[in-house]
Symmetry: C2
Subunit: 215 residues, 2 copies
DNA sequence: CCGCATCCGTTTCGATACTG
DNA sequence: CAGTATCGAAACGGATGCGG
């Protein structure tokens, strides 16, 4: 049964927290920021959330107009969860939280979803104006995203939406490490933790731009 | 006993939520944004939080470097809680949450602390460039704040920090209503819900600027 | 397998009472 | 005023089961 608890506070901040202040709620929104996800994608991206609680959160966020459930057209038949317009407008909240959280110690251990590292990557590049232009394919956890930087705007979309200058296949943890130490790219390739293709120098410049921006 | 539960997620957003994602935590930060507060101030501003939980939250936020407890110099002897620099950097998070929460329905009923309405007032005026310059004294719940708009910057500080052009004495709910309907000022004065002094026209222009910005 | 629903032990929360 | 102590209620977390 979904939570109905409220702060009973007229302040807009408190009313926002009534909607997305429950445990896991904002992390579900985080996972949906780059595109729709299936129930099991969310569960895998959020280790520690139990399936029943994930169901509750999704129902609650759906009832509050943050998330929408959409049944894919046949033959898929399965359904995905995606942000509504209102849910998408939570992006500045998550950006601000991420910026604040990034000032802490570099963190010890834990999981890291593909969406999480891609959001960090995107935020770092957006904050760092010197990032190179180009189109990059990122393959993480058997899924693909396309990073496009053109005319100063940076977007990351799910899928192979267009031809890429370079491609990297790796896992979120390795990619995250490379964002802090781009020079580790060759070593990661050597150990098989990452595979790269295409314009490798462009990829290297991309990683370096993040590392410079983050310091 | 303070909470130690973690998402165990390397994402900066999740790590931020490990610190300020517990219930009431961000509302405590909200209350401290405009200046130090005593324990009982916080409890009164946050009806619904039990004193033991407020103690837990403050201890937790103190341990995480968000809040600091400070003992006032004699003869006061009492102690106050205030934000650390790191805690103060949460302001963009609360701004973003407030902006998102304000797009909802105007809210039905509930409490409203002085800080909450002043933060809303400040945010609205900052977003609306046409707000008039001047210095205003705001008296709510037996406490005073000074609103200064000068050279395009707007600040609200606790106390009577400088001479004011006008003063209003009222309660948070009435002030909030006036922010949506400035024309209600005369009625509020007539019923005794508000008392005003000084340059009343300047006060009227201030309220009107908020109403225009919020629409 | 996916998308839940049910059950159950543990943690957190909320209300009230009480103390220095 | 500034917290502590206690206790029932709610929320959370993990395991298991079940229909498609």
């Amino acid at each position: 049964m979904p939570t109905t608890r409220s702060y009973n506070d007229l302040c807009p901040i408190a009313r926002a927290l009534d909607v997305v202040g429950e445990r896991w709620a904002l992390l579900v929104v985080r996972e949906l920021l780059l595109g729709p996800q299936r129930f099991s994608d969310l569960r895998d991206a959020l280790p520690g959330v139990s399936s029943n609680l994930l169901t509750d959160r999704l129902r609650e966020l759906e009832a509050r107009g943050v998330v929408r459930r959409r049944v894919l057209p046949p033959p898929a038949g399965s359904s995905v969860y995606e942000l509504t317009d209102r849910g998408g407008r939570l992006e500045p909240v998550l950006d601000a939280l991420g910026e604040w959280g990034a000032t802490e110690s570099p963190a010890a251990d834990g999981s890291l979803s593909a969406t999480a590292v891609l959001l960090f990557l995107r935020g770092s590049l957006r904050a760092h104006p010197a990032a190179p232009s180009g189109t990059f394919r990122l393959r993480l956890e058997n899924r693909a995203w396309t990073l496009v930087r053109r005319d100063g705007v940076l977007e990351i979309e799910p899928g192979d939406t267009e031809a890429a200058d370079a491609e990297i296949r790796t896992d979120p943890i390795t990619l995250n490490a490379l964002l802090f130490d781009p020079d580790g790219l060759d070593a990661a390739v050597a150990t098989g933790d990452a595979e790269i293709e295409g314009d490798v120098d462009a990829l290297r410049r991309l990683l370096t731009a993040v590392a410079l921006g983050g310091s």
